[in-house]
C-alpha cells in the first residue's frame, strides 16, 4: 500500500512542479500584466524607461519615465523564425525518414539514423557558435546576394540582404535543430509498419516510391503531425542559438527575410541584466510576462499535438 502511495506521490510531483511554476510566473508577472494590458501584444515599444530619472506613477503602477513594454516584434520574430525552421525541416525530415526506413539496407539505416539522432544531442550553443563563425559569413557574403537576385520577384526576398544575422539565418539554424525530431519519430513509425503492407503494394505493381508515399505514409499522418508540432514547439522555445544569430532586433518588424529579429526566449536572456537594475521592478515583471506567454504558447502547441495525434489515429484506424 505504502509503495503505491509513494509511486503516486512521485507521479504527482511532476505535474505539481509545472503548476507551481505557472502559478509563480503569473503571480510574479501580475503587476506587469495589469499595467501593460493589451498594448503588450500590439505594440513594438520595449523601453525600460530612463533609469536615472525619478519614478512616476502611471495607470496605478510605479514605473520609470518613458517605460513602455510592447512585444509584438518578439511575437513576430518568434513565430516567423520557427515557421521558417519548420518549412525547411519538414521536407528534410520527411525525406530522411523515408530514405532511412525504405531506401537503404536495414543495418546502414540504423547507422545513419543514429547520426541523425545525434544531431539532436548537439548543445544549442554549439549550433550558435557554428552559426556565427561559419554560417553567417557564408550566407551574408555568398548565399543571400544570389538568393536576393534570383528571387527578386518575391517582395520579401528582395535586397538589402543585411549582415547575415537575422530571420532566415535563425530559421536555418532552427531547422537543423528540429530535423532529428521529425526524422527520428517518423522513421520509427514507418519501420514499425508490417511488412505485409509493403509486400502487398509491390505485388500490385507499385514502385517502392509509391509504396512509401501512397501506402505507408498515409497511415502515419498522426505520427507526422505530432512530430511536426513538437518540433515547432521546440523551435519556439529555443534560446541560445537564436540569441547568437538573430541580430537581436529591438522594436521593429522584419522588413524582409534577411532582417534582424529577436525572439521571446532570446530576449529574456538578453534583457534580464538591464531589467534587474530597474528600481520599480516593472522591467523584470514584464520579462516574466513574456515567459508566461511563452509557457502558454508551448502548452498550447503540445496540447494541439496530442489532440491531433488522437483524432488522426481514430481516423486511420
Amino acid at each position: 500500500m505504502w509503495f503505491r502511495r509513494l509511486l503516486s506521490a512521485f507521479a504527482l510531483l511532476v505535474p505539481l512542479v509545472l503548476v507551481l511554476i505557472a502559478i509563480f510566473l503569473i503571480s510574479y508577472a501580475w503587476p506587469a500584466i495589469r499595467f501593460n494590458r493589451l498594448d503588450f501584444l500590439l505594440h513594438d515599444t520595449w523601453n525600460i524607461g530612463n533609469q536615472y530619472a525619478n519614478p512616476i506613477v502611471r495607470r496605478g503602477a510605479t514605473i520609470m519615465p518613458g517605460a513602455s513594454f510592447g512585444i509584438f516584434f518578439l511575437v513576430a520574430g518568434t513565430l516567423g523564425s520557427a515557421l521558417i525552421g519548420l518549412l525547411i525541416a519538414f521536407p528534410l525530415g520527411l525525406g530522411a525518414a523515408l530514405f532511412l526506413s525504405e531506401a537503404v539496407p536495414r543495418r546502414l539505416g540504423h547507422l545513419v539514423s543514429f547520426f541523425v539522432e545525434l544531431l539532436a544531442a548537439i548543445p544549442s550553443v554549439v549550433f550558435g557558435l557554428w552559426g556565427i563563425v561559419f554560417l553567417v559569413p557564408l550566407l551574408s557574403h555568398h548565399v543571400y546576394p544570389i538568393l536576393a537576385e534570383t528571387l527578386s520577384f518575391l517582395p520579401f526576398f528582395r535586397r538589402p540582404t543585411g549582415s547575415g544575422y537575422g530571420l532566415l539565418t535563425s530559421g536555418l539554424i532552427l531547422s537543423l535543430m528540429i530535423v532529428p525530431f521529425i526524422a527520428a519519430t517518423l522513421r520509427d513509425a514507418l519501420a514499425s509498419q508490417s511488412h505485409a503492407m509493403r509486400e502487398a503494394g509491390i505485388s500490385l505493381g507499385a514502385t517502392r516510391f509509391e509504396v512509401a508515399t501512397r501506402i505507408l505514409l498515409p497511415g502515419q499522418k498522426a505520427a507526422l503531425a505530432g512530430a511536426t508540432m513538437l518540433a515547432f514547439g521546440r523551435a519556439l522555445g529555443e534560446t541560445m542559438a537564436v540569441l547568437m544569430v538573430s541580430g537581436n532586433a529591438l522594436n521593429y518588424l522584419p522588413q524582409n527575410i534577411y532582417s534582424p529579429i529577436s525572439t521571446m526566449a532570446a530576449f529574456i536572456v538578453a534583457q534580464l541584466d538591464s531589467a534587474l537594475a530597474d528600481p520599480t521592478g516593472m522591467a523584470v515583471r514584464s520579462l516574466a510576462e513574456i515567459a508566461v506567454l511563452l509557457l502558454l504558447i508551448s502548452l498550447l502547441i503540445n496540447g494541439l499535438a496530442r489532440f491531433m495525434i488522437g483524432t488522426l489515429k481514430e481516423h486511420t484506424l
Binding site: 519614478p55 544575422y165 537594475a277
Partner: protein, 359 residues
C-alpha cells in the same frame, strides 16, 4: 548470523565517523576565520578581478573570493539583495536605486574608456574623425551612407565609400551602452530628447542595424561585417588591432578630435575629478578640456555598507583599500593588462572615505 554482524559493522563505522567528526570539529573551528566573499557583475571588470584575486588571496590566506561575470545590472541587484558582498558595475547607482537602498555605496576602483571602431575596407589604418552628433545621426538612421556630407565634412580628403553604414549596438544590458549613449546624449540634444541613456536603451530602428551580445560579440560582428561601426570597451583593443579594424578619433567638448591614449584619458579624469561628489555618482563622459578623451568612466564596486558581521566588513574594507591603492590593485602591472587607468589621488581619497563607511 551474517545479518547481525553486518549491523554491528554498520554501527561501528557510524561510531568511528561520529568520533572523526568530533575530533575534526576543533580543526574546523580554527579555520572558521576564513572569510568568503563573492564578486559578481560587470563583464568589463571581471578580467581585472581575476588578475587581482589570486595575488590578493596569496598574501591574505584567510580570504576566499569567488568572481562571476554576470553583468552590471545583476551586480547591482545582487549586492542590493545582499546575495553578494561585491557587485561590479560600469554604471553608478541611479538616484531611484539609492533612494530604494540607502545603504548601497558605489565606489570607483579604476577608470575605463571606450573605443568607437569601424570596418571600412582599405581605410581601417586611417583614423576617421567622428563626433557625437554624427554618431547620433548614424545610430538614428539619419546618416545612412559612409560618404554622407556630415562625415565627409569631418574627414576632408578621405575617399569614403558610398556604402550603407551598419551600426552595431549591444543587445544585452551593458555599461558600454551606458557611456556610449551618454556621449551621444551630452553632445547631441536631439538624442537626449528621443533616446537618452541607460545600460539598455530603446534603439531607434535603423535598417541594416543590428545587436550583438557582449564585447566579444561586438568585435566578431564588426570583423565579419564590412562597413559596420561599433562601440567597444578598451579591454578589447588587442582584438581590434589583431583584426585590423579601424579606431575613430572622437570629438571632445572643446571641439578637438582626440585618440584613445592614457594621456587623453587622464586629462579627462583631471577635468572631472574635482566635480565628483562625496558619493562618487558622476559621469566622466564628455569632460571639458582640449586634451580630454570624451568616453571614459569610473568602474564601480557596489557594496552594502551594513555587512552582517564585523569580520566580513573588515575583510571587504581591507580588500577594497588594497584594490584602489597604487601599490596594490591600481598598480600598472594590473591595469595595463586590461587597458584601465589608475584613480587619481583625489578619487582615491574619496573612495577610501566611502570604504571606511562599510561596517
Amino acid at each position: 548470523m551474517p545479518c547481525s554482524s553486518s549491523h554491528r559493522l554498520f554501527a561501528r563505522s557510524c561510531l568511528i565517523l561520529l568520533a572523526a567528526c568530533l575530533i575534526g570539529s576543533p580543526l574546523r573551528s580554527s579555520q572558521a576565520k576564513t572569510v568568503h566573499m563573492i564578486e559578481t557583475g560587470s563583464t568589463l571588470l571581471y578580467p581585472l578581478f581575476n588578475l587581482w584575486v589570486p595575488v590578493y588571496t596569496a598574501s591574505h590566506t584567510n580570504v576566499r573570493i569567488t568572481t562571476e561575470a554576470t553583468g552590471s545590472g545583476t551586480g547591482i541587484a545582487q549586492a542590493a539583495a545582499r546575495l553578494v558582498q561585491l557587485g561590479a558595475s560600469d554604471a553608478y547607482l541611479s538616484p531611484a536605486l539609492t533612494h530604494l537602498h540607502p545603504g548601497l555605496l558605489n565606489i570607483p576602483l579604476a577608470i575605463s574608456s571606450q573605443m568607437v571602431n569601424y570596418n571600412l575596407p582599405g581605410l581601417n589604418d586611417r583614423p576617421l574623425r567622428l563626433s557625437g552628433p554624427v554618431l547620433a545621426g548614424i545610430y538614428t538612421g539619419r546618416i545612412r551612407y559612409w560618404d554622407a556630407p556630415a562625415i565627409r565634412a569631418l574627414n576632408p580628403g578621405v575617399p569614403l565609400p558610398h556604402h550603407l553604414i551598419l551600426p552595431i549596438h549591444r543587445s544585452d544590458g551593458s555599461g558600454d551602452t551606458f557611456i556610449f549613449t551618454q556621449y551621444l546624449s551630452f553632445s547631441a540634444p536631439s538624442w537626449m530628447r528621443t533616446t537618452a541613456y541607460g545600460t539598455t536603451v530603446s534603439w531607434p530602428p535603423v535598417r541594416n542595424g543590428m545587436g550583438a551580445t557582449g564585447n566579444p560579440g561586438m568585435v566578431q560582428a564588426l570583423d565579419t561585417n564590412p562597413y559596420a561601426i561599433a562601440y567597444i570597451g578598451v579591454s578589447y583593443r588587442s582584438a581590434i588591432l589583431k583584426d585590423h579594424l579601424g579606431q575613430a578619433l572622437l570629438e571632445n567638448r572643446a571641439g578637438h578630435f582626440v585618440s584613445l591614449t592614457a594621456a587623453h584619458v587622464m586629462a579627462a579624469v583631471r577635468a572631472r575629478v574635482n566635480a565628483t561628489p562625496p558619493n562618487q555618482a558622476i559621469s566622466l563622459v564628455y569632460a571639458p578640456g582640449a586634451e580630454s578623451y570624451p568616453i571614459i568612466n569610473y568602474e564601480y564596486v557596489v557594496v552594502e555598507k551594513h555587512q552582517p558581521n564585523p569580520s566580513l566588513a573588515l575583510s571587504v574594507r581591507q580588500f577594497l583599500d588594497w584594490a584602489i591603492s597604487a601599490q596594490g590593485g591600481n598598480a600598472p602591472s594590473f591595469l595595463n593588462r586590461v587597458g584601465f587607468v589608475p584613480l587619481p589621488p583625489r578619487a582615491i581619497r574619496q573612495s577610501e572615505k566611502q570604504i571606511s563607511e562599510i561596517r
